[in-house]
Symmetry: C2
Subunit: 259 residues, 2 copies
């Protein structure tokens, strides 16, 4: 039987969470302001699609909002359910659940912490999910729902979720950008980025068993100014040079303050 | 039979390369200015140890220098072999092979590109190794030696090796430092760093099949200034805030210039 769920949004998180939920519950509709995107996800989960807020299924059990943070308040305000027990959930790391206050009696958050890309499969069962809700019954519903799709679910307050989101930017977005900068450096020299993959993998694996500060290697942690200056002389791009300088200094500081 | 090899150095690279070489050739001696470190490695590979330059085996076939870049020139100058065919190799990413000029007739580089820590096992066969030498016969010897320990060996000029070394700092040292900063953020909130590991692994895996720029997610690539400012307000540490600001701007630029 399962709950009737409406997915509001069709981006990376909506796509992966929507598909994971559809395997366990009844995803009855996908809304996106772009009908083509709504249809893409709706076709994958086997439900209807709409780009009209007025046409959103009014009596679903759960509405999952997975849209850009800055459109969430307006969208939340424009959707009312005829079901007084309907639960509104959003999936954002840094937005308070009170964004739903006044639009629903029961609301909360289901934040899946992972880097999702539409075309890339993820094993959702391994994605850590963090849940919060405005009353105990809604919390239990949100926890149950999260546990249907993930083996790694816990309750977490807004304050801690914000901290987690910030840490995730450092653990995921910034390393990924460093990979991009490495790729640019290599491509200027005609070297394929794939040569870096064993190093990238090993760097990620190391911190499974070693504290990151102790896992550090390279010229900065050795404070090898000869190599650092040689590297800086190789960098043409001003912002890349700033990043090299700042990260190097921060590595030196981390090593000096704590060792 | 195999070649007689002396390992000069006892650090992370010396330890892993020395052990890999010892499984294939005759490592006859380990030199370190700290006898305890020399003995540690010598015991693992089953050879003698010394902390005296004067006692270094004079007639070995190959001398592998794996020491800090700034002590390499002086050390290279203080060691002479009685074997006129002896090959001097160093393992540094950014040092010219000519550091050996005048001290040996045959010399070159064997640069293993990986993040080594002494206590952590690595599969050396998967480590990309980059080789250069001062004449064709020495190049062949260095390539052969590298192929005994790695399945991923290629010849590379100094200029390209320098570029590779710089890219490796971006692909390995800086991401690892970002992991450290994430750990600091989490530990201040009483959250265990292990919660980040699925995200870190997925971020590394993604760039095996997706260009890093296209794999990017998070507030910076969406140019979500609300979240970016909320994150900045959570960061107490001045240098960490500078890193957040600079990396965020660099991600925004990368996305603006090329998409």
């Amino acid at each position: 039987m399962g709950m009737n769920i409406v997915i509001i949004g069709s981006g990376n998180v909506a796509t992966h969470l929507g598909r994971a939920l559809a395997a366990e519950e009844n995803v009855v509709q996908v809304y996106s302001r772009t009908i083509g995107n709504a249809r893409l996800l709706a076709d994958r989960v086997g439900c209807s699609a709409t780009d009209s807020v007025a046409d959103i299924v009014p009596d679903a059990d759960v509405y999952v909002f997975s849209v850009k943070d800055d459109v969430l308040p307006a969208l939340a305000g424009s959707i009312r359910s005829t079901n007084p027990d309907a639960v509104f959930l959003h999936t954002a790391g840094s937005v308070p659940m009170e964004v739903f206050k006044g639009n629903a009696e029961r609301y909360g958050v289901l934040y899946p912490m992972q880097t999702f890309s539409k075309d890339r499969e993820v094993c959702f069962r391994e994605v850590p999910c963090f849940v919060e809700a405005n009353d105990p019954a809604t919390l239990q519903l949100a926890l149950d729902l999260a546990c249907r799709v993930s083996d790694n679910v816990r309750e977490l307050s807004l304050e801690k979720r914000k901290t987690l989101h910030l840490a995730a930017v450092f653990a995921c977005n910034f390393p990924n950008h460093c990979y991009h900068l490495a790729e640019r450096i290599l491509s200027d020299a005609g070297i394929d980025f794939s040569v870096m993959l064993p190093l990238i993998d090993c760097t990620a694996q190391k911190v499974h068993s070693t504290e990151p500060r102790l896992a550090q290697t390279g010229p900065a942690v050795r404070n090898d100014q000869t190599i650092i200056n040689r590297h800086l002389s190789l960098i043409d791009d001003d912002m890349m040079r700033q990043i090299y300088t700042l990260m190097t200094q921060s590595i030196i500081n981390a090593n000096t303050n704590k060792s």
